[in-house]
Subunit: 355 residues, 2 copies
C-alpha cells in the first residue's frame, strides 16, 4: 500500500513574527487554507489512506500537533527528541511503517512547501508511486525551474526511463545550491530541475540501504522498535537519538545509489521561503495586495499585510510587508524580506520572549 511521511521537524525564523522559536513555519497558516502541515497531509489524502499518513516532528512542537486535527491516528505521530536531518526522520517513520506494512511504497515530503496545482500534483504522484512500486528505485520529484534560483539544490536529468508516459528520467547527478552563474547555466541547459525534497521509495529497499550505509541509524531504531506499542517506547526513541548522527537522505543514502529516477513535476511548487515568496505564490488582483486578518489597506499597492488581532491600518504604502503577530510587528520592503533573520537575531537579544 501507499504511505506518506510528512517531515515536519524543521525550524526557521524567516516568517517572524509569525514564526517563532516555538512555532515553526509548518505550523503557520500562511496561505489562508490551513497550516502548511495540514495542507501537506491533505495533498496526499486521495492517494494515501489517512491511516497510512505519518508525521515526523519534534517533541518541542508537541503543542502544535493534534493527530485528531491533522486527521491521522495518534500512533502515526512520531516525535523526535531532537532534529537529526532527514535520514533519521524517514528511518524512524520507515521503522513504524514496517510493523504495519513491510512492502509499503512510501512518499516522503517536507511539511512546509506549497503546491498550487493540486490536480497535476496528484496525477504525477500517482504515476510516481506506480513507478516506485515497479522499479524499486528511489524516485524524486523535480521541479522545472522558472528562474536561476540559488537557494535550491538541483537535479540533472539523464536519459528517459521506461514508459515515456511516466515522464521519468534517470538522475545524472544532484547539485548543491549553485552560485548565480552556475544557476543561470543550469537553467539555460534545460537539463536541470530543482530538488523539491519530495522522494519515494519501497520500504524493503530503503531498509536495505539504511542497514548498508547508515548502520548506526538502522541499529538504533531496530533496538528502539522492540518497545513499539509499549509504555517505554518514547523513552527508547529518545535513547536511540542520542546515538544517531545528523545526516540527510541525499548524503546518507542517495549518493550511494547507482540508479535514482526523477519525475519532473510542473505543479506550481514553491518552498515559500520568505514573505516575498508568499506574496508571489498567493497571487493577487490588480492592486497586488494580499491581506489577512483585521487589516485596513487604503491606497496601497503590492503589499502583504497580516494581523492576528486588533487592527493593522496601512495607508499609501507600496511593496511592503506588514505583519503583526501576537505582541510583535514587522515592517519591511517586500524585496528585503530575506533579511528578517537578522531582525530575529536582534529580537532574540533584546526581547527573547518575542523571538
Amino acid at each position: 500500500m501507499n504511505h506518506a511521511v510528512v517531515m515536519a521537524g524543521g525550524s526557521g525564523t524567516r516568517f517572524w513574527p509569525e514564526s517563532r522559536a516555538k512555532r515553526a513555519k509548518q505550523f503557520l497558516n500562511l496561505t489562508g487554507h490551513g497550516t502548511m502541515i495540514a495542507e501537506t497531509i491533505r495533498r496526499f489524502a486521495p492517494l494515501v489512506p489517512p491511516g497510512n499518513i505519518w508525521v515526523v516532528a519534534g517533541e518541542k512542537d508537541r503543542e502544535h500537533l493534534s493527530p485528531a486535527a491533522l486527521g491521522i491516528p495518534p500512533e502515526n505521530l512520531l516525535l523526535e527528541p531532537e532534529g537529526r536531518n532527514t535520514a533519521p526522520a524517514v528511518a524512524l517513520a520507515a521503522a513504524a511503517i514496517r510493523l504495519k506494512d513491510p512492502e509499503a511504497v512510501v512518499v516522503a515530503s517536507p511539511a512546509d512547501h506549497a503546491i498550487a496545482d493540486l490536480k497535476e500534483f496528484r496525477a504525477i504522484l500517482r504515476r510516481a508511486l506506480r513507478l516506485t512500486r515497479e522499479s524499486g528505485c528511489f524516485v524524486t520529484l523535480g521541479i522545472p525551474p522558472t528562474h536561476p534560483a540559488t537557494g535550491y539544490g538541483y537535479i540533472e536529468r539523464g536519459q528517459p526511463y521506461g514508459d515515456p508516459k511516466t515522464g521519468a528520467f534517470r538522475v545524472r547527478r544532484f547539485a548543491e545550491k549553485p552560485d548565480a552563474a552556475t544557476a543561470r547555466r543550469f537553467l539555460r541547459s534545460g537539463r536541470f530541475d530543482w530538488n523539491s525534497g519530495l522522494f519515494l521509495f519501497r520500504l524493503p529497499e530503503f531498509r536495505q540501504r539504511l542497514r548498508a550505509h547508515l548502520p548506526d541509524v538502522h541499529a538504533a531504531f531496530e533496538s528502539a522498535f522492540r518497545q513499539a506499542g509499549k509504555p517505554g517506547f518514547q523513552a527508547a526513541i529518545r535513547k536511540a537519538y542520542r546515538a544517531i548522527p545528523s545526516v540527510s537522505v541525499d548524503h546518507g543514502l542517495l549518493e550511494h545509489e547507482p540508479e535514482i529516477l526523477v519525475v519532473p513535476a510542473a505543479v506550481g511548487w514553491n518552498d515559500i521561503g520568505t514573505w516575498r515568496s508568499l506574496h508571489e505564490f498567493l497571487g493577487h488582483g490588480e492592486s497586488g495586495n494580499v491581506l489577512f486578518g483585521n487589516v485596513i489597506a487604503t491606497d496601497c499597492r503590492n503589499v502583504l499585510v497580516r494581523s492576528d488581532r486588533g487592527v493593522v491600518a496601512v495607508l499609501g504604502m507600496e511593496d511592503v510587508v506588514v505583519v503583526r503577530s501576537g505582541d510583535a510587528v514587522l515592517v519591511c520592503p517586500r524585496n528585503r524580506s530575506e533579511e528578517v533573520k537578522g531582525i530575529v537575531d536582534q529580537v532574540k537579544g533584546k526581547y527573547p520572549e518575542l523571538a
Copy 2:
C-alpha cells in the same frame, strides 16, 4: 497675581492609534517628556504658582486627569460636561479665579501645543504678563511664520505699542486660515504672525467684556458659581452648560475689542498637528529616525516608530510612520499622515473599540 488657564477640552483623531475617541492628543506623551497637558503646565510653572494654574477639560476625559499628577490643587480642575469652544472654557476658569483673586492677570493656553525654546518662551511670557497688567488690553502671542501655512489663523501687526523693549504691536486684524496664495502673501509681507491660541487678559476687563458681549455665558456662570464649594456645584455647572452657546474667544470677545496687542514670540512653537509634524518638531540625528518604546529599526532613514508594548521591528524603510498602540497599528508614509483621519473613520466602522 498671575494665573494660567490650560484649555484641555479638545478632541482629535490625527494621532491615531495613540489618540482615540477616549484619549485625546493632550493626554499623549508625544515628545517623550510627558503628556502635552503636563508639559503645558510645566511651561508656566516658574511664572505662575501651581495653585494658580487651572485646567479646563471635558468630563469625558476625567480618567486622564489627576490633579496630583498634574501638580495642581483638586479644585483647580474644572470639568465641562461638553465642549463649547474656548469662550465658555475661559469664562468658567475666570469665574473660578475671581473667587480667589479678582484682580488676576491670566494667560490662557491650549494644552496640545509644543514649544521648543522654553527659556525664550518664559522671557516673552514674563513681558506679556507685565504688559497685560499695565495696559489692561487683551494680549496675544503671535508666532513668526516659518512657511506659508494654511492650517493656522494669522494676526496682522499694526503699529508698535509702548516701550519698544516689550516687543508689542497693536493688532491690525485677525485673519482666518488662508488659502495657499493668501498665505504666501501674508508671509511675504512680513506683517503677519500665526495665531498661537495663547492670549492674556486682566480678570476685571475679561468679566466686563463677557457681560457685554456674551451675556448668556456670563449669567449662566454667575448663577452656577453661587454653588461654588458646595456639593451641588458640578450639577450647577452642568445646568449652566445646557444654556451656553458654543463660541470662541476670538469671535465672541476679541472681535469687539478696539485695541488688542500682539507680542511676536519666536519660541519654536508647533501645534504638532500630525505624525509628520511631530517628527519634524522632535528633530533627529543623521539617520533622521525618531524611535520611542520597544523598537528595532535596521537600515532605516527618516522614520518615526513608536510602540507601547511588545516590539515593532522596522527594516529598510524610509520616510514612514509606524505606530503601535494597544491593539492597533498604523503604517503610512510621513507625508500622508494628515490622512490618518480617514483611516480612523474606517476603523470606527469596522472596529469601533479601536477608534
